[in-house]
């Protein structure tokens, strides 16, 4: 796995992020079962933690990410405050977006997670626009966008890839291929098994990696981020992984093949990485357990913060649409 000999600090950070994401979302699984505890569909990334952690840790803090409906992991890895994130998922006034985003549209510009769209396929053109600004302003940053295998069928993704390649924009396209788009299996919605096959059609490098292997994700994402950062244009990273729960927490998964689920269950990215850390004596078991405990604690505190926070006032619904003070010319 770690053939590039990454420093322990990086490995620890990768595991910590994955642990936090898993604990955070496992908690949401429980909260979603209670009426009125969280608002709206809970769309979780159980099984996909290595993608969020691996890609985001390969980025600079000033790099931008644009996410989609399955965003909690991306945002936590990028450094979003778990308390304000949880409060937002509960639609509370103390949430990152004052309760106006909810779980699906989280925007955390303070950590350069400038936009999240739940319109499938919309994130890539948004990211392309952000990357255009980076190039225009001569910044050395890149924009990374997360989208699914399902999203790859939306025309907007292709328009964005063509424009990004044509103008050599610093966009890292990350397709989280988790084998599902809602209740449609990859083979039912895509004419190709590996979405990275599309990269060549836009004259950009494209690679498919094991999305459950956080080091493979991290290393490839690092190389690709470097490519983008050097002004060589966009790159396309497909991460093969699996959606271990339903599309959302309201989904009974009746259409999923238990054997396939079981197969991927054995490939759990956290278990695999923990085993690696232990076997290679990167981290002793008790330190790993500490990381897990700490993650659990952070999540508990986030839930308390969220629970204790008030909902926004009803009439505040009228605010935030327009910027009132105008920047006069």
């Amino acid at each position: 796995m770690n053939d590039k000999f990454l420093p322990v600090g990086v490995l620890r950070k990768l595991y910590s992020d994955m642990a936090l994401i898993r604990h955070f979302e496992d908690k949401l699984v429980l909260l979603a079962q209670e009426k009125s505890r969280v608002v709206g569909m809970q769309i979780l990334a159980n099984g996909q933690e290595a993608v969020a952690a691996g890609v985001v840790n390969a980025l600079e803090p000033d790099d931008v990410i644009v996410s989609n409906h399955r965003s909690h992991g991306h945002l936590l890895a990028k450094g979003a405050d778990p308390q304000k994130l949880m409060a937002e998922i509960m639609c509370k006034a103390t949430g990152v977006n004052k309760g106006k985003a909810g779980t699906l549209h989280l925007a955390v510009p303070e950590i350069n997670a400038i936009m999240t769209s739940t319109i499938v396929g919309a994130s890539p053109p948004l990211a392309m626009g952000a990357a255009f600004a980076q190039q225009y302003l001569d910044r050395s940053n890149i924009t990374t966008v997360f989208f699914g295998d399902g999203a790859a069928a939306e025309g907007s993704v292709h328009e964005a890839m063509n424009m990004a390649s044509l103008w050599k924009l610093p966009v890292l396209f990350v397709c989280e291929n988790n084998c599902w788009a809602g209740a449609q299996h990859l083979r039912e919605h895509s004419c190709v098994e590996n979405i990275a096959r599309r990269a060549d059609a836009y004259d950009m490098p494209g690679t498919t990696v094991d999305g459950n292997d956080v080091l493979a994700v991290y290393n490839t994402a690092s190389d690709m981020a470097d490519h983008c950062r050097k002004g060589k244009g966009p790159a396309f990273l497909e991460t093969r992984t699996y959606r271990m729960r339903g599309h959302g927490e309201h989904d009974p998964c009746h259409y999923m093949d238990p054997a396939e689920l079981e197969k991927w269950g054995l490939l759990c990215p956290l278990k695999t990485f923990r085993k690696y850390l232990e076997e290679h004596q990167v981290l002793p078991t008790d330190q790993i357990n500490d990381i897990d405990r700490k993650a659990a604690l952070i999540v508990e505190e986030a839930v308390i913060f969220g629970d204790e926070s008030p909902f926004p006032a009803a009439a505040d619904a009228l605010n935030d649409l327009w910027i009132e003070e105008e920047n006069r010319h």
């Binding site: 709206g40 639609c91 309760g99 985003a101 699906l104 769209s117 319109i119 449609q184 909902f311």
Partner: protein
């Protein structure tokens, strides 16, 4: 007559249409295999009955789904496609507006497009404005598209059959919150004509013109006001294109007052057309200003108190009526 839910009524209409005409097929994201198992959902069970040749789960490609409908209908099929939620209709809007609506006209009447697009509407799911955004006014402003929007199980079934066998393109709006609403529905295929509004409550003091889920808001308001001896004439338009002008105008000529109600944003909403039509054609009967009760001009919020604030309530209808009862 049998009791069934709005969702089952839609399902029954789809079933009858599929049974009756081999040229009818369904397509959309999850119309075959869905992430939901609720038997009240319109497409539940149809894949099992009709197979994947006629019940087509599609990729997440709204423009192609609409293009499929336009192209296949030009060849004589009767596509019934689904655009999952109303805001996603933006992605299909070129196909619907520049093609489904216009190509027959521009062909000089040579090519027909007997297609139906089912789309789900509704506020109050906590899903936010990328899932909840009533755009019926967009469709109504597009010559060449019919627009049906049933408020109860019987109409849901009748109008969906009407839509599928209408030789023109029809956008069919389903009110998600009503999927579980029970009602009496005729067996077989009871035709409900398009362009025929339903007077769901007879009254003399003020007319309420509305449609879709808001019909129930109006009925609650009417119930409350009846206790104060204010009697409302409540009109459920059922089809927004074609619009049954006569029923509406006759009612206003009788009551002299009009409140228009819908769940969509107020500014340039469908209600503006109703108000404008009445202000021209029944002006002399009007005893008071025409009021509109609609959502404020903001995106649908997600948080529960704000979502409730957004949605027009019986109370808001009551205030509007009281304001013009003088």
């Amino acid at each position: 007559m049998v009791m069934m839910s709005y969702g089952q009524a839609l399902q029954s209409a789809l079933d009858i249409a599929l049974e009756k005409d081999a040229n009818v097929f369904l397509a959309g994201e999850g119309v075959g295999t869905s992430i939901h198992v609720d038997p009240n959902l319109p497409t539940h069970g149809l894949l099992e009955k009709y197979g994947p040749g006629r019940i087509k789960d599609t990729p997440v490609s709204e423009a192609a789904i609409a293009g499929l409908a336009v192209g296949a209908s030009a060849m004589g099929l009767r596509p019934v496609v689904e655009i999952m939620f109303f805001p996603f209709i933006t992605l299909a809007s070129d196909m619907l507006v520049n093609h489904a609506a216009k190509l027959r006209y521009m062909s000089g009447g040579k090519t027909d497009f007997p297609l139906t697009v089912r789309v789900k509407a509704g506020v109050n799911f906590g899903a936010g404005s990328q899932h909840s955004h009533n755009l019926e006014a967009w469709i109504a402003h597009t010559p060449g598209l019919k627009l049906f929007y049933p408020s109860n199980p019987a109409d849901a079934k009748g109008l969906l059959l009407e839509a599928i066998f209408d030789p023109n393109p029809v956008i069919f709006v389903e009110e998600m919150l009503l999927y579980w609403m029970q009602g009496e529905v005729a067996e077989g295929a009871p035709p409900v004509s398009s362009g025929k509004a339903n007077i769901v409550r007879d009254g003399t003091d003020c007319t309420i013109v509305t449609y879709g889920g808001a019909v129930h808001t109006a009925m609650q308001a009417a119930e409350t006001l009846s206790k104060e001896e204010i009697s409302l004439d409540v009109i459920d338009l059922r089809t927004l294109v074609p619009l049954d002008e006569n029923t509406m105008l006759e009612s206003v000529r009788k009551t002299g007052r009009l409140v228009v109600l819908h769940d969509a944003n107020r500014f340039c909403g469908y209600g503006a057309e109703i108000a404008a039509t009445v202000a021209e054609k029944a002006f002399s009967s009007l005893k008071a200003p025409i009021m509109r009760v609609a959502a404020p001009d903001i995106p649908v919020p997600v948080s529960p108190p704000q979502e409730a604030f957004f949605k027009p309530s019986p109370e808001k209808v009551i205030s509007a009526v009281r304001a013009i009862m003088g």
